[in-house]
């Protein structure tokens, strides 16, 4: 059975970029409006 893994979003751009660098990953940025 295929399971869905919850995504842990980072909410600080610089922190996310640093994590991406340490893990050698690409970054997916979602800019949203909560309204």
């Amino acid at each position: 059975m295929q399971t869905t893994e919850a995504i842990a979003w980072e909410h600080d751009f610089e922190t996310g970029l640093e994590r991406a660098k340490s893990e050698h990953r690409l970054v997916l940025l979602d800019i949203f409006n909560p309204g």
Binding site: A8, D12, F13, L17, L29, I31, F32
Partner: protein
């Protein structure tokens, strides 16, 4: 690495100004150096979103010259999301990816012929239409 920024939060204003943000959802793919490699605006339903996201990662890998990774992403779009709006882009860049990996390869005309056949009304068919022009008279 997924990052979300709320465009109504004042602490994000400076960052969003530097990103020239104008509309939501605003989705982008960066490398870890902060270079933007792909973007799109506007809502997409889940299957269209996934197909577009795979194309975005495919382009990021292609621009980073990681051709094998790009190829797998574009192949996945064509295998799993062949009727999506992103599929013609995947077909177009699958040919580009294989050509850039091996300039001796026939994959560019092969994939673009597939594009003409499978997605004749797409913008990406137009982008390869110079290949449809008659050869100039000698």
């Amino acid at each position: 690495m997924p990052i979300q920024l709320d465009n109504s939060a004042s602490e994000n204003n400076a960052r969003l100004h530097r990103l020239h943000h104008i509309w939501t959802p605003d989705v982008r793919v960066f490398n870890y150096n902060g270079d933007e490699l792909y973007r799109w605006d506007g809502f997409l339903p889940p299957a269209e979103f996934v197909a577009r996201m795979l194309c975005g990662f495919g382009m990021a890998e292609l621009r980073s010259k990681r051709f094998d990774r790009a190829e797998k992403l574009y192949e996945r779009v064509l295998r799993e999301y062949s009727t999506s709006y992103a599929a013609p882009e995947a077909q177009y860049y699958l040919g580009v990816t294989r050509y850039r990996r091996d300039h001796e390869s026939d994959e560019l005309p092969i994939q673009w012929a597939q594009l003409r056949s499978r997605y004749p009304d797409s913008e990406y068919r137009v982008k390869q239409s110079f290949k449809e022009l008659p050869e100039p008279a000698k």
